[in-house]
C-alpha cells in the first residue's frame, strides 16, 4: 500500500515537470489532465470520496474542456491557420 502511495506521488511530480518541458501546447494539456486524474486517486487513498468525485468531474472534466476550447480560439490546434503564431 505504501508502494502505491509512493508511486502515485512520484508520478505527480513527473507530470508537473513534464508540463513545462514539452514543446506542444496540446501535450501540456493532456499531461495536465493526467495530473488531475492521479490527484483523484490520491484523494481516494486519503479516504475523501467527496473530493475525489469533485476533482474528477471538475479538474479532469470542466477545466480541461475550457482549456481545449481556449486552444481552439487561439488557433493552436494542428490544422488551423495561424498555427505557428500561437506556438511561441
Amino acid at each position: 500500500m505504501i508502494f502505491v502511495n509512493l508511486a502515485l506521488l512520484g508520478m505527480l511530480i513527473v507530470c508537473a515537470l513534464a508540463v513545462s518541458f514539452t514543446k506542444n501546447l496540446l501535450t501540456s494539456l493532456i499531461v495536465y489532465m493526467a495530473y488531475s486524474l492521479i490527484m483523484t486517486v490520491i484523494w481516494m487513498l486519503l479516504e475523501s470520496p467527496d473530493l475525489a468525485i469533485t476533482e474528477a468531474a471538475v479538474g479532469a472534466g470542466i477545466t480541461s474542456v475550457l482549456f481545449f476550447v481556449t486552444l481552439k480560439k487561439i488557433h493552436a490546434l494542428k490544422g488551423d491557420r495561424d498555427h505557428e503564431q500561437a506556438q511561441k
Partner: protein, 125 residues
C-alpha cells in the same frame, strides 16, 4: 529531518509541487502554460490541506450502521474547505482563459514579453 520528511510524504510532495508550479509561473513565456502552473500550485495546496484530516485506521465520514462515535471517522472539516477551494479554482481559471482569448484577439501572440513590448510601444505613441 529526513525521517520527518519521509513520514509526512504527502505534505513534502505537496510543497515540492507548489515550488514547481511557482517556477512554471515565473519562467514560462506562454500564457497557457502559466495558467497551468497556477492550477498546479492551487492543487498542491489542496493536497497539503486535505492530508491533515487523515487518521490511520479510520474510515471516510459517511455514517454506516448507525455508528456515531468520533473515534471511527476521519476529520471531515479539511475536506469541506478543499471542496470550496476546488470550485473557486475553476472559477478563476475560467476568467483567466477569457482574458487570454481577448489578449490573443488584440495582439495575435501569446508570448508575454512580446505583448508587454507592444503595449509599451503603443503607450509611447
Amino acid at each position: 529531518m529526513w525521517q520527518a520528511l519521509y513520514e509526512n510524504i504527502e505534505q513534502t510532495v505537496a510543497v515540492i509541487l507548489f515550488g514547481i508550479g511557482f517556477i512554471i509561473l515565473l519562467l514560462q513565456r506562454n500564457l497557457i502554460r502559466k495558467i497551468i502552473g497556477l492550477n498546479i500550485m492551487s492543487t498542491a495546496t489542496y493536497l497539503f490541506l486535505a492530508s491533515m484530516g487523515y487518521i490511520h485506521g479510520r474510515k471516510a465520514p459517511i455514517i454506516v450502521d448507525g455508528v456515531t462515535q468520533a473515534a471511527r471517522y476521519i476529520n471531515p472539516v479539511p475536506a469541506g474547505l478543499v471542496l470550496t477551494g476546488i470550485v473557486v479554482s475553476v472559477s478563476f481559471t475560467g476568467i483567466m482563459l477569457a482574458l487570454t482569448v481577448r489578449l490573443y484577439r488584440r495582439y495575435r501572440t501569446l508570448d508575454i514579453d512580446q505583448i508587454t513590448l507592444m503595449a509599451r510601444q503603443e503607450e509611447v505613441e
